[in-house]
Amino acid sequence: MKIGLTVWNNHISPVFDAAQTLLVVDFEHSEIVDKKYVPLQPGIPHHQAGSVMAQNIQVLICGAISEVFARMVTASGIQLIPFITGGADDVLNAYIKGKLQTRAFWMPGYGSQRRRRFRGNFKQ
């Protein structure tokens, strides 16, 4: 399974719209098989979303994201997990172990939306 995380200084990037780097992780049975950093093209929605789509990821984990960018990502069939914060490795490990839906990884103010969104576990 291939997932993407927008990262900055080893943290999840605060705003997807302006994120400059995508960490692409390929893992099988909870083991990381491949990991690479891909430059993004922030600013223009279809460029930014296009760069993400080009990586053929199934899931995108990012920080805050505006509506236009979010729609473009989800319209391409990518599962979006937005408003996540924390160290990139911590977030990645939590996702692989199915533990990302804890309050510690939510951006402040996103609690209520997250509670509505994640009633079940992530499908991997």
Binding site: W8, S13, P14, V15, D17, A18, A19, Q20, P42, G63, A64, I65, S66, E67, A70, P82, F83, T85, M107, P108, G109, Y110, G111, Q113
Partner: protein
Amino acid sequence: MKIKNTTDIILESISEGVFTVDLNWRIISFNRAAEEITGIPRKEAMGKNCWEVFRTNMCESNCALRRTMAEKKPIINTATYFVNSEKQRVPVTVSTAVLRDKNGEIIGGVETFRDQRQEEELRKALHGRYQLGDMVSQSPIMQKIFDLLPQVSESDSAVLIQGETGTGKELLARAIHGLSLRREKPFTAINCGALPDTLLESELFGYKAGAFTNAMKNKPGIFASAHKGTILLDEIGDISDAFQVKLLRVLQDKTFLPLGATQFEKSDVRIISSTHQDLDDLVKQGKFRMDLYYRINIICLQLPPLRERKEDIPILVDRFIERINRLRKRTVQGISHEALAVLMTYDYPGNIRELENIIEHAFILCPDTYILPDHLPDHFRFQAPLPGKFASDTMAASKKSFETRAIMDALKKNNYNRQAAARDLGIHKSTLFRKIKALGIILPEIDGRAGRRRI
């Protein structure tokens, strides 16, 4: 945060959001306005990294607070946006400063931000109201067209744009294309009046190799290259009878035959036609086919001449100055009230294009300050004197000036019908003729008796 002292009371009462961070970028205070603007409760914000709470597009590459801390200099009113928890971009202006303790030691930074949503909405409302595509207008006639345009664009029907030369028919056609579902596909304009039939046919429909001498290889025409896009047939009133028949066939059957081809090709384009002529009149005179007229005239838009939307002259002038400054790397500040007043009195037979040429002319003579009456073309200097501050100070000159304006206004109102203008002015027709001659008023060739006024 408990309210302890005067500073806290002030911070809680102001409408600007304020937060402070320690040297590790952790939020150590967050005022009431910051809670309201961000939608994040203070208790959730405290102790968090500032970029997790106030997540702007600058955090990652151009953080104002980081620059302030590095350079120890405040930054005032930088425009940016943050993304709130509802995925909305909230426009804000941000100011930053370093935070020092009693001994002058830097202990962190302070960031204040102002919510710009209301200003942004107003600006958009104003901008949107006066602008559509590359067209700007405050005139009620143009506003009606602007209001119609989204529906017209979405309809995908054929549109006929009528208007004098230089009124912006191509800009309107581009705006329709830009708002339509075909906007990602090509927009191609062709001046039908400029080309003889054979050339027009090869331009529009293309040709096959061997169709004529020197036709070495296939050339796709505009109907093929603008597939799924929009074609503007400019000056459609000028095409020959024979070509009208060919065009009608394309519009009816949605197929066309390239020169030298044996098989028809399918066409999926939206046709916008434009003309400076009155097609209705041409049909009545038998110079334009009625069936073609009805095909291209599903929706008709009439662009008013500039003399009927003079309220647009100031914004058009501003726009031309801005554009020419950019193109020629000039810094002309604007136009003086005097020069603008002169421009407002002119009738612009060449419409917006003529106004643009006048401003280009003024740029040549104008040093980088303001365009003055002296920078305008010669014919403006020989106009009848204007009422107000530009008229001569004598009573006789003022009277002459007011008479000129009154006669011109009455004539224009009556589409240059002298008899009707004289009736409006309460004078006899022969008195009007005498005054026109005495005041040296130059009238256009139309006399208003046969012409029809359009709305």
